[in-house]
Amino acid sequence: MEAVITVFKKELHRIFKDKKMLFSTFVLPVFIMIIIYGLVGNMTEKLQKEMSQYSPSVYIVNSTDKIQKAMAGPVLDLSRVSEIDGMAAEDTKELIKAQAADLLIVFPASFDADIENDSGMPNVEIYYNPDNMNSANAYTMYLEMMQDQVYKSYLADKVGGADKLDIFTVNMKADGEASYELSDEDNSGSQMLATLVPYMVVILLFSGAMSMGTDIIAGEKERGTMASLLLTPAKRSSIAMGKLLALTVITVISATLYSVTMVIMVPKAMGEALTGGGFNITVGQGAMVFAIIIALAFFYVNVVTLVSVFAKSVKEAQSYTTPFMILVVIAGVLTMFNSFSSGGQNIFLYAIPVYGSALCLSDIFSGTAAVGGFAVNVICTLLISVLLTMVISRVFDNEHVMMNS
């Protein structure tokens, strides 16, 4: 037991007393995440602002006073709307293609008369360029205006007054204070975080375990210091256990740090609208997340260690662990698709290491977590990890593996 603690302390000492290590494991990744998400957030904001201030250049064929009156209003910026002759329509289409104009609206010449006399169904044509963001935006806005504002204006004319259009309301109580939202405050998850966070946690944990694990195991062989450890009377299993525990602790700390940074930064970067303005989870849910992270970290650490023991050098160990990194990414991506189907997964899926953990995290963040899946996941992950630990202890006893450098 003393050997376990001694090895454990030494590995932690190596990380925490080494400023370079400390910086590259904990500080730098967080810093990079803040910068990246900050930049993304800033740019999205800027883009949205530019888009909302832009006034599109719109050309209208066969405009009448009545049409102009129907379109006028506070909704759209009409400063760059011009009326043109039907003859110029083809030229305008070319301009739109070349992104020199944004929109062409063609009214039939008999538009007003057709509506008034109920003679046929006049069709309005709106031409735009989907490759040009301003044109595409203008299209959406004008389409909506046509179908709503202009349509109502003509309709009101036909039935004899705008007040005749109001026939019923939805969700409009006289007191105006009533809330129709029935979501449980504690459970209100956000789809964005439910998708992103599990994926990132699953991958960040692995990359942490990978960079530390290959160094602690294969690095020790490469530096030739493993033999001196094996020459002490300490049990091989104690040496293995000490290293595994230290690795788990470091991996959990780094993953927690990264996750917290992300949960804080993502809403900032993606805009409140997309993420539902952050999210809140209960203490119980937080504990579940932490339990999943610890179990998953321990599993990863075992995998990386088992693979690294067979390598002679850190480089070799890294090349051996890369295929596992790919598997982890695949598991993460699969859960991204899954997060849209709300809960109710087959319970056996939760028993699959990595994939089950990501499923669980996704459930928790989207507010659909069930204790069953959580328990199955944590217990299975830990069980498989302990089996791996036993294999690792056996391998530590194998001279072909340990003395091959």
């Binding site: 000492h13 530096r223 033999a227 450890l229």
Partner: protein, 262 residues
């Protein structure tokens, strides 16, 4: 006392090694039917060329490797069945010192003390004594990576002697060291002998064997071809010195004689 009883050590080549060595062989017999006894309080030398099987033999005795056949006892304890007990009484030193570069001698000494479950006060006393003997106190708080090879060797020696072992095994004690450091290492081994330790070294340096060893075993291609005190070996080969004796043994026994045109 170390008793090596008829051991054979066969290495299995991994796929990668086969590729690197460009060979079709799957096994390599490094040591063949080797027996010898190191008596308490003597310095015993294994003399052999590169690849003769010296390191392999020493690692088997130090429990890092298991002999494929035969067995070894150290103070009556079997190196396979009682490996942990053997490790408690023995120390294996090598010339290529491998200490974690980021740690200080002070930390590493305590670390290995705790790995051996030695009480703190005894660790402190041993550290004081050994650091003073090797004159490395002023480096105690520097990182290993900042120290010279000679200093590292001394620190490694100090750490290896932390548990005051009865049996000291040293694989090529002076290879790679300058003559000043080398001679201080040899003096230390003679010092240990005075204290009654049992010492086994491997070497291919004749003068070292002549100066140090009470008895010598000559290894050629993994087999023992001669054993005795220096005068006994000289008499048997009618040579003037160990070097002459060694050449004769090598010529008479090595499969590689043709290649070397001896």
């Amino acid at each position: 006392m170390i008793q090596v009883n008829n051991i054979t050590k066969i290495y299995k080549y991994s796929l990668k090694m086969k590729r690197e060595l460009n060979t079709k062989e799957t096994h390599r017999k490094a040591v063949e039917k080797l027996s010898f006894t190191v008596k308490d309080g003597e310095i015993f030398g294994l003399l052999g060329t590169n690849g003769a099987g010296k390191t392999t033999t020493l690692r088997c005795i130090a429990t890092l490797l298991k002999p494929t056949e035969g067995d070894i006892t150290v103070n009556g304890l079997d190196t396979v069945k009682d490996a942990a007990k053997v490790r408690e009484r023995l120390s294996l030193l090598t010339n290529d010192v491998r200490l974690d570069p980021q740690f200080t001698p002070d930390y590493l000494f305590d670390f290995f003390g705790h790995m051996r479950e030695i009480p703190d006060d005894i660790i402190a006393a041993r550290k004081e004594e050994l650091f003073r003997y090797f004159d490395v106190n002023r480096y105690a708080d520097k990182k290993i990576e900042e120290l010279s090879t000679g200093t590292r060797q001394k620190i490694s020696l100090a750490i290896s002697m932390i548990h005051d072992p009865d049996i000291v095994i040293f694989d090529e004690p002076t290879t790679g060291l300058d003559i000043i450091t080398a001679s201080s290492v040899l003096d230390y081994l003679l010092d240990l002998k005075k204290k009654g330790k049992t010492i086994l070294i491997s070497t291919h340096i004749m003068s070292e064997a002549e100066k140090l060893c009470d008895r010598i075993a000559v290894l050629v291609d993994g087999r023992k071809v001669a054993q005795g005190t220096l005068p006994e070996l000289l008499e048997e080969t009618e040579a003037d010195n160990l070097e002459g004796a060694f050449f004769k043994y090598f010529r008479d026994n090595s499969k590689e004689v043709e290649r070397w045109r001896l």
